[in-house]
């Protein structure tokens, strides 16, 4: 019985997922060793701390997204929620409010966006992939209407803490937040009855409904969570960049989904673990950072990320002949 997935019965599947995390850990170690050989600047506490900024914001969303995908849904609008939340923060800032109100505006916008997605998917019963492709255009579109080709600058100095501050030595605020959320989501998904209902819905929504789970309500809550986490990521990112443009975080939805799928969450729902997502986040962050140290252009990194995504999923399937799913 794997300790990290206590809510699954002892079965072949549990072993498969356990070995998935083992595989990720192996990939992580290989990438880490390769990086330290490739660049003399890699093994430095401050450099490694810098490397975490590559994934902490995306990982915050990935935790909530993992639960959403386990439940058999998906949210492609997360990057657009960041754009809209950041725009809202900019508007509040221009109106002269201080940091607490700015942060509240970001989180509240995320919550409202999540509620819109949740109402359309859970309330009206529409397919989440289509709904969130629509809201993806809508949310970022509103940002474009507000800002056009302009940008918000001049956030207050104490607002910079969320994206640039350090809690203790090399532990940045974002890294600490990442750790707290990783723990929180691990407990939520793997140790609570709510987490169990998420797995139940992902495996068989009809059976879940007839066993008394309020499927629509759980789905709505998951979209709310994803919205709030996107708002939180928007606070961190806006604080780190110090400005808001409507094109902020473009393409992040795909990075977040890649992170979740790389972490071993079944894209068809019903299986996955937060630990896997944490490992995937570290792998993606290290690869990005290592390539950065070697002056490899971002687009070449994305090729590697694409190969990694397909390779890590294809390999076990090819080796075992037929893995689970499909």
């Amino acid at each position: 019985m794997s300790r990290e997935i206590p809510d699954r019965l002892q079965s072949r599947m549990a072993r498969v997922w356990r070995s998935w995390e083992a595989l990720l850990l192996a990939v992580f170690i290989v990438v880490f060793i390769a990086n330290s050989f490739a660049s003399p600047y890699f093994l430095n506490a401050w450099n490694l701390s810098d490397a975490t900024f590559n994934f902490t914001e995306k990982a915050l969303i990935a935790f909530a997204m993992a639960m959403l995908i386990v439940a058999g849904e998906i949210d492609l609008s997360v990057a657009s929620i960041i754009a809209l939340a950041s725009t809202a923060m900019g508007l509040v800032m221009m109106a002269g409010f201080g940091t607490p109100v700015i942060v509240a505006a970001g989180l509240a916008t995320g919550l409202v966006c999540g509620a819109v997605n949740g109402a359309l998917v859970a309330g009206l019963g529409l397919p989440s992939i289509v709904v969130t492709i629509g809201t993806m255009s809508l949310f970022r579109g509103i940002s474009f209407i507000v800002l056009g080709d302009k940008a918000f600058n001049g956030y207050p100095a104490d607002f910079a803490y969320f994206g640039q501050g350090y809690v203790f030595w090399v532990i940045s605020f974002e890294l600490a937040l990442f750790a707290v959320c990783a723990l929180g989501y691990t407990l939520l998904l793997h140790r609570t009855s709510f987490g169990r209902t998420v797995f139940a819905i992902g495996n068989n929504p009809t059976a879940a409904l007839f066993s008394g789970i309020r499927v629509a309500r759980v789905r709505f809550i998951l979209f709310l969570l994803t919205g709030v986490m996107s708002g939180l990521a928007a606070v961190c990112l806006t604080s780190r960049l110090g400005s808001t443009r409507p094109s902020i975080a473009t393409g992040w939805e795909l990075d977040v989904v890649t992170m979740v799928v790389l972490g071993g969450v079944n894209i068809l729902g019903g299986a996955g673990s937060i630990l896997g997502v944490v490992l995937a986040a570290f792998i993606m962050g290290l690869v990005t950072f290592g390539f950065g140290l070697l002056n490899v252009p971002g687009i070449v990194m994305s090729i590697f990320m694409g190969l990694l995504l397909i390779g890590v999923i294809a390999l076990p399937r090819l080796v075992r002949g037929r893995a689970k799913g499909r």
Binding site: L126, V130, I145, G148, L318, G325
Partner: protein, 323 residues
């Protein structure tokens, strides 16, 4: 069933006509035959891509790599042109490369059994990155292209540019293929009920792979047309266009669950987005509104689809769910 589809396509066509007339009420120039032809030609690449995406969606899959395939094939076409390859060969190469890239997607879905959304999410970044590797990020500009290369999509026959004619020919051809051939029926069968399709002797995976090959080949063709028409090739051509293509399918009533939809519907969906895109500057709305408007259109379309497509048994379940 057929009648419902007919109705929804008529409704969409009506919406497009009403929208066009509404704009014409204040800006008569918009409905001048010349301008309408322009709008159609401008939407032609989207209409061709939508056919491919629609076939993939029919088989319960999705192709997010279309725009990246387009960019890679377009760049290869421009490079071949620079190397002095004759136009006919370039065209064949673009389509063949597109089909090959589609086949990679298809094989990963068919033989390895990875869900299509994961496969094409990965190949999307790989194909787009390959464009960069080919050129090191450099642009290929108009003066580096031969006149014949640039002229093909722009040549005018009977008042319409060649690009529009190609789109019309493909729409006609695929409307026939999907409704009148065994392959076309296979696409619907595989998406509508995969289990029944197996018992009917269809290979689900192979049919899905075939859909990806078609979608790739069409993207390859549009790659050449796009680069030749705009006379420039660079890494980010048609960046994010894959979502416009999916949006057009949704607006056109293609069910994301597979097995339902028509070529005419998909093309009307594309035309709907095309008219909006071209109308905004005419009625003096900032182009920054376009994104929000197409987003709202998708949401309205999908809510509308669900409203009519909901089966009785399903409805009871939903009611219970709310309590």
């Amino acid at each position: 069933m057929m009648r419902v589809f007919k109705q929804r396509e008529t409704l969409l066509a009506l919406a497009i006509v009403l929208m066009t007339l509404g704009i014409a009420g204040r800006f008569p120039g918009f409905v001048a035959p010349n301008n309408l032809a322009n709008v159609f030609n401008d939407t032609a690449p989207l209409m061709i891509l939508v056919i491919g995406q629609m076939i993939v969606i029919l088989t319960k899959c999705i192709d997010l790599s279309m725009a990246a395939t387009l960019a890679l094939c377009g760049m290869v076409a421009a490079l071949l042109n620079g190397a002095g390859v004759p136009l006919a060969l370039i065209l064949a190469a673009a389509v063949a490369l597109g089909a090959a890239l589609g086949a990679i997607n298809g094989l990963l879905v068919w033989k390895v059994g990875i869900p299509s959304i994961v496969v094409t999410l990965g190949t999307m970044t790989i194909y787009r990155g390959t464009v960069f590797l080919l050129t090191n990020g450099k642009w290929i500009n108009a003066h580096e292209m031969t006149p014949a290369f640039k002229a093909l999509p722009r040549g005018v026959i009977l008042g319409l540019p060649v690009m529009s004619w190609i789109a019309l020919a493909l729409i006609g051809a695929f409307a026939v293929v999907l409704t009148r051939t065994p392959l076309g029926r296979a696409f619907y069968a595989v998406g509508g009920n995969p289990h029944a399709a197996v018992y009917a002797g269809l290979d689900v995976g192979r049919t899905q792979a075939a859909a990806f090959v078609i979608s790739g080949a069409l993207a390859g063709l549009v790659g050449y047309l796009w680069v030749a028409r705009y006379a420039v090739a660079y890494v980010d051509i048609a960046g994010g266009f894959e979502l416009d293509v999916v949006a057009a399918c949704v607006i056109g009533g293609i069910s994301i669950a597979g097995g339902a939809g028509t070529v005419v519907g998909a093309v009307l969906g594309a035309l709907f987005l095309g008219v909006i895109k071209n109308a905004l500057p005419v009625i003096g709305i900032s182009p920054f509104w376009q994104m929000a408007i197409s987003g709202s259109a998708i949401l309205l379309a999908v809510a509308f689809n669900a409203g009519r497509g909901r089966a009785a048994g399903r409805l009871i379940l939903r009611e219970e769910q709310r309590t």
